[in-house]
């Protein structure tokens, strides 16, 4: 298994369909018009020497190494900036070119250290390669005189020398090795879109500068790693490479953080992970990454990771490490005892959106076939369940309609309730690239998120609505489109039911949906709503991307329907550049939903009451499946408090920290007799567990993840599970302990079972994925290559369905006691409950949750930046430190939920979406007041958590 080597073509591919034929070094080659001579040469297998060119960024033409000669043309043009032309004859190697190249390399090397043997890039240095390629044997200029290499020149301080910048936790910047090729600067601009780097000074004084001659950590850098990837020398180098050395083999796998599902090469030395490098052929990320996927994998070897199974009688006891056999036999016995004592429905389980499709499938199978009920749910309950409901009702599928490439063809983008630069950074970079090309942007969000205004990006309209008024605002956009006659009648007549449209059009045209009426309740100026609606309806390809700011409301499903209506009424479905795109939070939340994790659905979104579907599984599994939907997570907790639900198997989810109304979750868990947690760490939920089964990381198992664009990506094992077993093996062993006859020897066999039972996965197999790289479901006889874009010739459900979306204000209202609205979200460097990212160096960017508050609200309450404040709602209170910012509107406060010490969900209430019970995280009426430090509840909680994490025979784990 060698290193996966990727060809660097030097310049990006041309999209032209017109082909041009030319001759390079005697080879005739045909390439698309607009291709550079450098790229054409590489396609013919001829490597023109180069330093400043790489195919992730546009040609720059500064290194003067890639010169060529073209018959009939004067001079020696740079092959990277010179496009091909029909019939030309190019020579890449002549005596004139050889002399020039040698001369150029001599100059480069005269200001470069000669420590190749001890350099971290040894073996992976393009400068070294080029010195070899041009035959450099001597540097006539010597190494004395002006240079950036030595700290001292003949005893004097060398003002041009700069020390290494080690401020970023993951990579170093060593200016003495820099050849000023600008690849890092251009990668930051063109690929990532942050513009954190520049070349400062001029001439010989030119140096790469983060920010305004700052260090990397203090600069605008978001640590995506694109610059490190682009650097041809050791100037920007992963600290892990410095520590370990160059990798010797690599395996392509899929990131386990957000729903973008980036493909990475896990570059290895033996079983040690040297670095994660984004894979250029990854069709979701196209060779880009963010700080989490690229660098934040250190949790997999963190000292707090639990590697042995543990059990205990009571949750007040310390944990006792036991063998896998004992732990599994104990668990199986407990579940059987509880079912015997309290009935078949008294146990259930939660599948994980962080685990693979195969693992999720097994957990729901264990519950349906082993527990004999439908009490299975998943964390999508608390995030995108309204997406499933809303898009299912209107279009007929529970998933986004596009692939990520689609964004390259969009002209107007609406982002609602999503913060892509923090939550889905790689998608955000691709979006920003399109926006810099001229696409227009409309942002609907209570906060002024970074995408509203950042370098070279400016939203045409920002609709800063009051939290909880999504339905009113989106319906009002439709009002403008309908009443001003901007709808796409042809599309609607062809694809939708016209009479349903007429009914809906009459509904949205009512006066109380006008922007002027909606302004009063949403706080969004009517003109902004009108402007945004007109732009979306008339600006070309219109796409809508949304996140949890849409779904996590009491009217989450209604907003999803309103969004679907908006896409249909403007004819923006069924081709590249348009569509409705939920930005899904977790790596495999799409997959977890696909795999039948909901209490009412079997794999492939087929209702449990459907006899034919049940029969398929009943035959295969040899059991009878209940035709009644089981309990959802909140119902399980309610039933536990009532005493009828006693045991739960939770794989890879921390419901105590992530689910709303923490105290209710605590009460539910505390009332159960057997809580089984399978996780990497003793998470917050594990404080209430009786059995802990150690989990495995994505690096330690084979499987598949399905990302937000329905793309099924392979996850490949690169190291032995440190806990002994991959998660699918643990579930299988538990099933066997419960008497089920399961004998999967590899996850591919589980996928074969999924394909055999689920029509939308019919053609998926590991062999097929190996061949295709990845596929987007549906992937079956009708769509053997998968389905990058859905609803092309018509909606899956037949006719697109317009549904009325009446705005009903949430019951969670502000009043004199709780005058502010709290909304919650994520930050770039941390991920969800932070169980992983808090255990990496990402904490340097976000070591605690802060409460964002508008200066007016802060002044009124005597709160200064950095002060401790008490945050109080009807549900509870907590304390955290204030961050005063105008990003939030007056009357709105915001925080993240990454740290268990803050426990933002103590504050959130038990209100939820009317259709799916998705909790209303995004709206809580609160009051804040100055405080001296952590609340009594936080102190008690911390004490309880510490107590609960004791392990017999081990020192108390330091938090």
């Amino acid at each position: 298994m060698p290193l996966v080597s990727e060809i660097d073509f030097g310049t990006p591919a041309s999209r032209s369909e017109k082909m041009v034929t030319l001759t390079i070094d005697g080879n005739e080659i045909t390439v698309p018009e607009g291709t550079s001579i450098m790229r054409a040469s590489m396609e013919a297998g001829i490597k023109v020497p180069k330093l400043c060119a790489t195919d992730m960024v546009d040609a720059f033409g500064s290194c003067r190494l890639c010169l060529v000669e073209i018959e009939g043309r004067n001079g020696t043009p740079a092959s990277c900036t010179t496009p091909v032309a029909p019939g030309i004859t190019v020579h890449t190697q002549t005596s004139r070119l050889k002399d020039i190249r040698k001369g150029v390399m001599e100059l480069y090397i005269s200001d470069h250290p000669l420590d190749c043997l001890t350099c971290a890039a040894n073996g992976d240095c393009e400068l070294q390669d080029m010195a070899g390629a041009v035959g450099l044997r001597d540097v006539r200029y010597g190494y004395e005189g002006d240079n950036h290499v030595k700290a001292r020149n003949n005893g004097d301080i060398n003002a041009k020398w700069m020390p290494m910048d080690e401020s970023n936790p993951y990579f170093t910047y060593d200016p003495s090795k820099c050849i000023v090729c600008s690849r890092c600067v251009r990668a930051c601009e063109e690929v990532q879109g942050t513009f954190a780097l520049t070349i400062e000074g001029r001439g010989f004084g030119s140096r790469v500068s983060p920010g305004m001659h700052e260090n990397f950590l203090e600069s605008e850098c978001v640590s995506c790693g694109a610059c490190v990837q682009a650097c041809p020398t050791a100037t920007l180098t992963e600290k892990s490479v410095i520590a370990i050395g160059q990798p010797e083999h690599s395996v392509v796998t899929t990131c386990a953080y957000c729903g973008v599902g980036c493909s990475f090469k896990a570059e290895m030395r033996g079983e040690e992970l040297v670095r994660m490098v984004p894979w250029k052929d990854g069709q979701a990320n196209r060779g880009h990454s963010c700080v989490k996927g690229r660098f934040a994998y250190g949790y997999s070897t963190h000292k707090e990771r639990i590697l042995n199974p543990m059990i205990r009688e009571k949750i007040t006891d310390p944990w006792r490490e036991v063998s896998w056999e004992e732990a599994l036999a104990h668990t199986a016995g407990e579940f059987r005892r509880i079912q015997y004592q309290y009935g078949r429905e008294s146990v259930g389980g939660i599948t994980s959106s962080r685990c693979t499709n195969e693992e999720t499938y097994l957990v729901q199978k264990l519950i349906r076939a082993g527990f004999g009920n439908n009490n299975v749910d998943t964390c999508a309950r608390v995030c995108h369940s309204p997406t499933g409901y809303g898009l299912g009702a209107t279009f007929g599928t529970s998933a986004g309609t596009q692939n990520f490439d689609s964004v390259e063809h969009t002209d107007v983008v609406i982002i609602i309730g999503a913060n892509p630069t923090d939550g889905h950074p790689v998608f955000a970079s691709r979006l920003k690239k399109r926006l810099r090309q001229g696409a227009k942007l409309i942002v609907v969000d209570p906060r002024r998120t970074d995408i509203v205004s950042s370098p070279h990006i400016k939203a045409s309209h920002h609709l800063p609505l009051r939290p909880g008024t999504n339905v009113a605002v989106v319906t009002s956009l439709a009002h403008v489109i309908v009443t001003e006659g901007l709808y796409d009648e042809k599309f609607i007549r062809e694809r939708c039911d016209w009479s349903e449209f007429e009914d809906w059009a009459a509904f949205v045209s009512e006066e109380h949906h006008s922007p002027e009426a909606v302004e009063k309740l949403s706080g969004v100026p009517a003109e902004e709503i009108r402007g945004a609606a007109r732009l979306f309806a008339t600006g070309g390809n219109g796409s809508i991307y949304y996140g949890l700011g849409v779904t996590e409301h009491s009217q989450g499903s209604t907003t999803v329907i309103a969004i679907a209506n908006l896409a249909m009424v403007t004819g923006n479905i069924g081709r590249p550049g348009v569509g409705v795109n939920p930005l899904r939070g977790q790596n495999n939340v799409q997959g977890a939903c696909d795999m039948g994790s909901f209490p009412h659905e079997l794999p492939g979104y087929r209702h449990v009451s459907d006899d034919a579907t049940r029969e398929t599984f009943e035959k295969l599994w040899g059991v009878t499946i209940s035709n009644e939907p089981g309990l959802r997570i909140p119902n399980m907790l309610d039933a536990a408090v009532d005493g009828s639900f006693k045991g739960i198997y939770i794989q890879g989810e921390d419901i105590l920290q992530s689910d709303p109304d923490t105290k209710h979750v605590q009460a539910g868990l505390a009332a159960m007799e057997c809580v089984v947690v399978q996780d990497l760490f003793l998470n917050e939920t594990a404080n209430y567990a009786h059995v802990f089964l150690p989990g495995s990381t994505f690096l330690e198992k084979d499987g598949t993840f399905t990302n937000a664009e329905r793309r099924i990506n392979r996850v490949r094992k690169v190291m032995t599970p440190r806990n002994g077993y991959a998660d699918w093996e643990v579930t299988q062993k538990l099933a066997q302990a419960m008497g089920l006859d399961w004998n999967y020897s590899h996850p591919s066999e589980i996928m074969d079972e999924i394909a055999a039972t689920t029509p939308s996965f019919a053609m998926v197999s590991y062999g097929y994925l190996e061949k295709m790289g990845s596929v987007q479901w549906p992937c079956n006889e009708k769509a053997p290559l998968g389905s990058p874009i859905m609803h092309i010739d018509g909606f899956v459900r037949g006719k697109g369905k317009f549904i009325r979306t009446e705005y009903v204000a949430t019951d969670e209202k502000t009043g004199p006691r709780f005058p502010l609205l709290l909304t919650t979200g994520r930050i770039l460097s941390q991920y969800n409950v932070g169980a992983q990212t808090r255990r990496t160096d990402n904490v340097v960017w976000h070591e605690e949750d802060r409460l964002e508050i508008h200066p007016n609200d802060a002044e009124m309450r005597g709160v200064r930046d950095g002060d401790w404040v008490k945050l109080q709602s009807r549900s509870g209170d907590t304390t955290l430190r204030a961050l005063i910012t105008e990003r939030v509107a007056p009357g709105v406060v915001y925080t993240t939920f990454h740290h268990p010490t803050t426990q933002a969900n103590v504050i959130t209430t038990d209100f939820s979406d009317w259709a799916t019970n998705c909790p209303e995280y995004k709206v809580t009426a609160v009051q804040i007041s100055p405080s001296n430090g952590p609340s009594q509840w936080q102190i008690d909680y911390d004490e309880q958590a510490r107590h609960s994490r004791r392990i017999t025979g081990k020192m108390e784990a330091a938090e």
Partner: protein, 159 residues
């Protein structure tokens, strides 16, 4: 020229200047000129404000400012004397003249006299090759300089 502006004033004045000029086509260089005219240099604190208002990154603005030698990062003396150091002036005795000015002022290039009276800077061609050697004092050009003429110039700035 106010040499003792607080950073609060810098912020407010910068914002005024940027707001006034941001609708220009290619507004960054004119804004930087105006800021230098206002403060006598381009204060580091002004850069993030310019960046934010023009939708640029701090790095981009820093890249531009540091590219042009004419943008100062600290205030100059009350007078700025620029001596041409390009080829034509050198061939007409510019080197000796430069040494003379340095000794008269007691400073080297890029330095300011202790009394804050004058800053001495090299410049690479004022376009006055026909009247070399040449210099520029506070924006006014002087040609055909000799020892006496520079003594007069120095006396003028020292006054």
């Amino acid at each position: 020229m106010n040499l003792h502006v607080s950073s609060r004033d810098i912020g407010e004045r910068t914002l005024d200047i940027v707001s006034e000029m941001k609708s220009l086509e290619g507004p960054l260089l004119p804004i930087l000129h105006e800021i230098q005219a206002e403060f006598g240099y381009v204060p580091q604190e002004a850069l993030p404000i310019i960046a934010r208002e023009l939708n640029l990154s701090r790095a981009e603005v820093h890249g531009v400012v540091s590219f042009y030698h004419d943008y100062r990062d600290h205030p100059a003396g009350r007078h700025v004397l620029k001596l041409c150091r390009a080829e034509a002036c050198q061939s007409m005795g510019g080197d000796a003249l430069a040494e003379r000015v340095k000794s008269l002022l007691g400073i080297d290039f890029h330095q300011t006299t202790l009394d804050g009276a004058v800053t001495l800077e090299p410049v690479y061609c004022l376009g006055l090759c026909s009247t070399a050697p040449a210099a520029m004092l506070d924006g006014e050009v002087h040609g055909r300089l000799d020892a006496d003429a520079v003594r007069d110039l120095v006396a003028e700035v020292r006054a």
